[in-house]
Symmetry: C2
Subunit: 353 residues, 2 copies
């Protein structure tokens, strides 16, 4: 590929035409199956793309951390769900400050988290909406049963400064049946324990294509769909031409006939494998395999490749996992079909606390 | 562990007493075996620690990219080796600008790279020193034989704007014999082809402990030794108490008796495995295993652990690979035995182009 002048490699390129098409397609899907869309902005961490998501019909945004939410609330976003157990005096003070400027919601899966949130919000001007995180098979955070969800919902409803906002899960891909079952029982019990259960929010791009509607889920929170990546291609959830984010890398060495070295390593592509073999796809060089990464080098195995790139050539890489790539780079180049790329700061890069 | 007020998790902590002891020990080792030390600053990306390395006796610094070198040259560092094949008009123009302010050296393993460097420096006020990168078994960049090294050395010596500076390798760990053999032949042939071969530079913390001197290597370039990490503990190259860099993380969930969730995921610890099982060590919780990471969560398997942390507890994590952790965080907290931590910007974070 040929890069416009002024862009040095490695460079993270975002094709806005593709990203906007992905945003429209996900919104159309959620509209069609009857759930609200609350995109997770951790994928792009860009105010401009979050605004495009809202303009397309999203009801608000999802953030993973308080520091990330601060960037978006400062930019005027007024409806933010933080899908995280927030603990610690400093973090809770910042959350309380955010709640003066935006409609904030947070999550909890333990009484310890609920009690901390309540202590921080008991004297706040507005109560905080708190959803119970449910482990529907993802094996990460979350209460382990509908009964435990209802019990925590009751505690939230009784806690000063808090209102019970509903139930949240990040499901394992392809487990919609399990989500449906867990959430139906949990919702009915939570209504008995807490008086209401307004929102049932699920999410994830990997499960979105097969999510064809629900009798209980009211909201969906995908993130990666805005860019797509090699992991989603491998799952059959995206095509190469749906990948809005690419890394432009230069071939800096061809030490042997079967080996090329790129100037993008784990500090650009990350080491995320997501169950795949190899660390990225070279769509213009079929059969080429990124066999290994060090911090600043990618080692490409060309033994299975017909066409092979020369030293100095710039190649396009579709990373395994787009969400970690954007968090590694201070800037992305936004463009439309490689025309007029604009270096743009990644607004919430590194906001992980 | 107890964090001083004002530090939110996840936080990257650097104990300066330990880092300084590591710097002294590596310098003493290189002095004892009779090689110059040129530390790779990609590990810490901090001007303050690079200064400490020079003060201890290092002859200069190693950088991996031009953008990284720019940060250090601007801070006054005047002897910088970039161990990389540099290609592309913009990058070469920046390298030429750097060479007006510091003694710069770069590397090449192909005529394409040499010709590009020569075109950029033919009209420069001072020639650029160029070393030939040799693949002594690491399987990354580098010419494949001593004969090819000598041939490229001759080309460099004949190229306008360049002087031949010597030979560079990043060896696979434990291959000192192979390095010795390759470099001895390459040096003798390079002297015949280019008239001299001033520097033979090798490197890497993993190979440093077993590097007990050489008849040919004149310079050594370790990076990770300043911090150490779990990968070096696993290799027997460092002890827990030699690890200057730790990640402080909060237990945000204990969904089951055998599972804890930390607030530090792949956006803090990185997914680097370096051949290990698990994504980090919890030195205060023997038997606990970081079994998986998502972007903002670490899933800890406690089934083999006696002592187990509670929700809200702050734990200390030794990451698998320190060099990628510092590149993920905008700031580290420098301290001495957890006293008076000072938030410090990671000067060259994200400087990968």
């Amino acid at each position: 590929m040929t890069l416009p002048a002024g862009i040095e490699t490695p460079a993270v390129l975002v094709d806005l035409d593709i990203a906007e098409a992905n945003i429209r397609a996900a919104q159309a899907h959620c509209d069609a199956v009857g759930v609200r869309l609350r995109p997770h902005v951790k994928t792009h961490k860009l105010i401009a793309l979050a605004r495009a998501q809202l303009a397309a019909g999203a009801v608000g945004i999802t953030c993973q951390k308080v520091s990330e939410a601060e960037v978006f609330v400062r930019a005027g976003f007024d409806d933010v769900l933080i899908t995280y157990n927030l603990l610690g005096a400093e973090k809770l003070a910042r959350l309380r400050e955010l709640s003066l400027h935006a409609r904030m919601a947070a999550c909890a899966d333990s009484a310890t988290t609920v009690n901390g949130l309540s202590a921080a919000f008991a004297s706040a001007p507005k109560p905080l909406s708190v959803l119970v995180e449910c482990d529907t098979g993802g094996g990460r955070c979350g209460v382990q049963s509908p009964e435990a969800a209802a019990e925590l919902a009751g505690l939230i409803a009784r806690s000063p400064g808090l209102i019970f906002g509903g139930l949240m899960t990040y499901p394992a891909a392809g487990t919609h049946g399990r989500v449906e079952e867990f959430m139906t029982v949990a919702r009915d019990r939570a209504i008995r324990a807490a008086g209401s259960c307004a929102t049932i929010t699920s999410g994830g791009t990997p499960a979105m294509r097969t999510f064809t509607g629900s009798k209980v889920v009211t909201e969906y929170r995908p993130g990666t769909y805005v860019y797509n990546d090699r992991s989603l291609i491998a799952r059959g959830d995206a095509r190469v031409e749906d990948c809005a984010l690419r890394v432009a890398a230069t071939v800096v060495s061809r030490p042997t006939a079967d080996r090329a070295i790129l100037d993008s390593g784990s500090k650009t592509l990350s080491s995320d494998l997501l169950g795949l073999t190899g660390y990225g796809m070279l769509p213009d060089f079929p059969g080429a395999m990124i066999a290994g990464l060090s911090e600043e080098h990618a080692v490409v195995d060309l033994s299975g490749a017909g066409k092979r790139p020369d030293v100095g050539e710039v190649v396009s890489v579709i990373p395994n996992h787009a969400c970690v790539v954007t968090n590694l780079t201070d800037r992305v180049f936004l463009h439309r079909g490689m025309v007029a790329p604009a270096a743009t700061a990644v607004d919430a890069r590194g906001r992980v606390w």
